[in-house]
């Protein structure tokens, strides 16, 4: 790395005081190289924002903020609006959270409060493996295994029991908002689990002990002492999971059915911001089409930055210094 600099420490005597004064050439070069590398990171982000901003200029000029609330998507006529995409993104992410949050909380509580010491690490490790599976593999499994099962057995059952709700009515498709939501739930579960586990681990033992000493059962100790203490951190974990779900691309693209319409029911196909970029960017030829897709990317970026910033603030409140927020990434 910086090995080319002259070696001041082992050379003649006069060099030594300089080294001690902290003004050796090696130190200067070292600091310079490190600073350069470090500065690259913020510069990269600035560059990313600028590129997305410039790239979306044509679409922003033409549609302004109304892009976000319009439903048209017509590359031939050059008319674009992202409302169905935004709605689809939010809906799939919400479905994912509804399924994943109770599950991951249950696992996190079991692992920190009830589980025998010997199984804690192995279970956390195995669930961590879920986070390592590439998105496209989830998509593959979703297309050929999960969706057929959902369509033939789970969806009809849901419709029979919850069909009175508009969300669960209408014709049943395989590729659908709900299928995408289910695969997303599996994908974000490990993140929410591992961050809430870190948060629960950061709750001082004295909290539990106090509750138990007052005669609480172990579950009552969890509910009355542990969870309230870690609440904002757990909320942070959930929002971090939301951030993941919003930007998840491949698995959703492969399962959601890719239809530019506001999904009327969870059984109907839909679209998300990430999925439309994945599907159309490589084939887009019209400048306005590319610009509209870049505008979509800019919107997605802005949303995830806001969501992640919120999550991190909440996590830092509880687990300050434990690094729970960044470790989970």
């Amino acid at each position: 790395m910086t090995a080319v600099t002259p070696d001041v420490t082992e050379s003649s005597a006069p060099a030594r005081p300089r080294a001690l004064a902290g003004r050796s050439w090696g130190d200067l070069v070292f600091r310079g190289v490190l600073t350069l590398a470090a500065a690259t990171v913020p510069v990269l982000l600035g560059f990313l924002v600028v590129e997305l901003w410039v790239g979306s200029a044509a679409a922003r000029d033409q549609f302004g903020l109304s892009f976000l609330v319009r439903s048209a998507w017509d590359p031939v006529a050059g008319d674009y609006g992202a409302l169905p995409l935004i709605a689809g993104t939010l809906l799939t992410s919400l479905v994912a959270l509804v399924i994943a949050v109770p599950l991951s909380l249950g696992v996190a509580i079991y692992l920190t409060e009830f589980a025998p010491q010997v199984v804690r690490q192995p279970i956390a490790f195995v669930i961590g493996l879920l986070a390592a599976i590439p998105s496209v593999v989830y998509g593959l499994w979703g297309i050929f295994v999960l969706t057929p099962i959902l369509r033939t057995s789970v969806f009809p059952l849901l419709q029979k029991t919850l069909g009175f709700l508009p969300l669960f009515s209408g014709p049943i498709y395989g590729p659908s908002v709900l299928a995408a939501g289910v695969i997303l739930a599996i994908m974000v579960m490990p993140y929410i689990m591992s961050v809430s586990r870190e948060v629960l681990l950061a709750v001082p033992a004295s909290q539990r002990e106090a509750a138990l000493a007052l005669g609480a059962t172990r579950w009552e100790a969890v509910v009355t002492a542990v969870l309230p203490y870690g609440m904002s951190g757990i909320l942070g974990a959930v929002i971090l999971g939301l951030g993941r779900a919003l930007g998840e691309t491949m698995a959703v693209t492969m399962l959601i059915g890719n239809r530019h319409e506001l999904a009327s029911s969870l059984f109907a196909p839909g679209y998300t911001m990430a999925a439309v970029i994945a599907n159309e960017f490589a084939e887009a030829v019209a400048d306005l089409h590319i610009s509209a897709l870049t505008y979509t990317a800019l919107t997605l970026f802005a949303v995830t930055v806001l969501v992640n910033a919120g999550a991190r603030l909440l996590i830092w409140r509880v687990a300050r210094g434990s690094g729970a927020g960044s470790k989970a990434l």
């Binding site: 050796s24 070069v29 990269l44 409060e113 496209v136 297309i143 691309t249 491949m250």
Partner: protein, 281 residues
């Protein structure tokens, strides 16, 4: 039943529910791995690793081009991303309270949360649009951008694990700062830094979204980064969403290979970390 008895029963039931949550959470992993092995392993053959794709509809052929493409692109991404990420991480650990260190930490977290598809769009507008053609290099840059923030954060964390007394001892012996940092602190926790690097490689090796419109994919054996290039995750995507039975079988086999690679890298990362566990308090 006494009130205490009822409360105990309720505690037991809720504990049972958390166990159930564990079972439900672990089940998908078992199903996915089981299906991958069951549907993928039959299609793995020497030809699968050494041959190019057969024309659509024909049998035989392999994904050699995608394996080579992934190796080349991930390798190039490492060359670009790892030095920057590791040095930036060391900077954050060395000059912890400098304003730049705070900015780097914040930005790295922002970039870590950025969807990879957005990074793909960035790489497109930056490189593909200006060069007027898709290329493996653009894909490498997209992957490198994803690696940098991950590596920065883990490197900082790992460097900070080295006891302060070690650094002080070196400085007290008259070592200049750069030697202390590189030869004592960084080297002492080299396994930790390797762990961070391996985890980052594992993550980007499976990335598809940022390659869709940078590397684009290809049916040919391409070894020049200036041309559109295939990658294993792209191949899984194309084959899984394609119309042919034969393609679907290749998608399963390619996915099995991909996941074996990713798991091997993650496992390697964990093993490397175990070697450095001496410094974990």
């Amino acid at each position: 039943m006494s009130a205490l008895g009822r409360r105990r029963v309720r505690s037991g039931i809720m504990t049972g529910l958390t166990v159930l949550a564990v079972v439900v959470a672990v089940a998908p992993l078992l199903f996915i791995l089981g299906d991958l092995v069951a549907k993928g392993i039959g299609n793995l053959s020497p030809a699968f690793f050494t041959r190019l794709p057969a024309p659509a509809g024909e049998t035989g052929g392999g994904v050699a081009h995608a394996i080579v493409g992934t190796l080349l692109m991930v390798g190039t991404a490492c060359l670009i991303g790892l030095p920057v990420g590791i040095l930036a991480g060391i900077y954050c650990a060395e000059y912890r309270d400098s304003r730049l260190a705070w900015a780097v930490r914040f930005v790295a977290d922002v970039l870590n949360g950025t969807p990879s598809i957005v990074v793909g769009v960035f790489a497109w507008t930056w490189i593909v649009a200006s060069q007027q053609h898709f290329s493996g290099f653009a894909g490498s840059v997209a992957l490198a951008i994803l690696m940098v923030p991950m590596v920065t954060r883990t490197t900082e964390e790992m460097v900070l694990l080295v006891p302060h007394s070690l650094r002080e001892a070196a400085l007290a012996l008259g070592y200049p700062r750069w030697r202390t940092s590189l030869l004592i602190v960084a080297r002492t926790n080299a396994p930790g830094i390797v762990t961070g690097a391996l985890l980052a490689v594992a993550r980007v090796a499976g990335e598809t979204a940022p390659l869709l419109f940078t590397a684009l994919g290809s049916q040919y054996m391409v070894t020049s980064l200036r041309e559109p290039m295939a990658a294993l995750p792209l191949t899984v995507y194309t084959y899984a969403t394609g119309p042919y039975e034969e393609w679907h079988r290749y998608a399963w086999a390619a996915a099995l290979v991909l996941i074996l690679v990713v798991f091997a890298l993650s496992l390697g990362a964990r093993l490397a970390l175990r070697r450095s566990s001496a410094f974990r308090g």
